[in-house]
Symmetry: C2
């Protein structure tokens, strides 16, 4: 219960209580929490206190408001450690999610100029373009567009179509698994940005407007430093959390 004589503001105490109920599973992921009026009665606090507590919990990402419907417990975020890239399927299974990958596109296409520069391939050469959609529990979570070096592109597209037909969950990096090849990548140089989803990305990820996405660009390099793949990925920001331990200082 709330301590009305304590030092901690009531709305913070109420937010902490709601958070504890979410973390202990009393309020389950994706379900509605009690209405403002119910919370007022349950905790004998004012409507203003309840609103401030909910506002705080929404800004911390614990709750989401669905206009005209109520306030719901956010879906838990998928946690990706940044130290190393692990397989898409393993990551999802590790978090209790049923994952699947679909191939939206696998064809020859012209890429933006910078992709040719990055892959060190002459412009006006078509490249193999592969667009994958990653879903978990039937919800689309991320869309990935890759361009490959010409010498591996067709092989990669074939693997993708084969794996998707088998119902597997994979990212483009997982596809190199079968390849006993000097071009198999060992490192991905990535940049992480965030922004509003474009209408195309929002449509594929079934997001409303405005929706926030992580934009992750990757260049995968073989152990001899050859860039073999350029990839741009859009992840639902409400479903992903990245973590890292960083050393402080020089």
């Amino acid at each position: 219960m709330l301590n009305k004589e304590g030092h901690v503001p009531l709305y913070i105490q109420l937010k902490d209580l709601i958070q504890e109920k979410i973390e202990s599973g009393v309020y389950a992921e994706g379900t509605a929490i009690p209405s403002e009026r119910e919370l007022c009665n349950m905790y004998e606090v004012s409507r203003i206190t309840v609103r401030q507590a909910i506002e705080r919990a929404v800004s911390e990402g614990l709750l989401v408001r669905r206009p005209g419907k109520g306030t719901y417990v956010s879906a838990r975020k998928i946690h990706q450690p940044l130290e190393r890239i692990t397989s898409f399927g393993t990551t999802m299974t590790g978090q209790g999610l049923l994952a699947k990958t679909s191939v939206l596109e696998a064809q020859n296409a012209y890429a933006p100029a910078k992709v040719y520069d990055i892959l060190q391939v002459s412009k006006n050469t078509p490249l193999v373009k592969l667009v994958l959609l990653g879903t978990a529990n039937s919800q689309p979570l991320a869309i990935y567009t890759s361009y490959f070096r010409p010498d591996i592109g067709e092989q990669m597209a074939d693997y993708a179509l084969e794996w998707a037909a088998q119902g597997r969950a994979f990212s483009s990096f997982d596809l190199y698994e079968g390849m006993s090849h000097e071009l198999r990548p060992v490192v991905a140089r990535q940049t992480f940005e965030a922004g509003l989803a474009s209408s195309m990305v929002a449509r594929h990820l079934r997001l409303g407007n405005p929706a926030v996405v992580f934009v992750v660009e990757s260049v995968a390099e073989s152990k001899t430093g050859v860039p073999v793949e350029y990839k741009i990925a859009y992840y639902r920001a409400d479903r992903y959390r990245f973590s890292i331990a960083r050393k402080i200082g020089t």
Copy 2:
């Protein structure tokens, strides 16, 4: 010029051209690019082609639309490698920006419950709360709220006020510099999330609505594993880009 007989769609060619002009500085950061009509005339292409090219450049973050005003070249993003945390001042100076830190709050305060758990301090103890605002070229870029272990909090607040009075640019981690102390942190465990800015954060960062921010939580630990500081930071997503080289596979 555009190649109307080429394989590459005209709008992609035009987008690439605009990008080259931005990268070479012909279109300078923060200035308006020519109007749609001017671009149609300059490149002898249809209005639809120009719109598609601009749409693409906006979705890639190269341009921003200011309703009723025109289309502008985005400010270059600040690049932060994730391998290691370097000083705020050095990072900004390295990118040619004039940085400054202001202290918005330095006082005793009660923290959310999870902060006490993280810092392993009993609840109902006030902690030193330090809120810093980082600016570059007079634009606010990030707001940081830190809570410290009780034994170092006052010292940290004193340093912050002193450094700010000297006009220095710093983050809370830089403040440990002077401290020859076993509690000096050597690692920060961080999570990166992204979302829409709350109205409070938007006000401090002078952002319109909707605005996207990175939300970075850090726990700084001493070399003996003692958690000395909890920090939550909000970074303007339109001004920050994080990078990392990740190993692929297990």
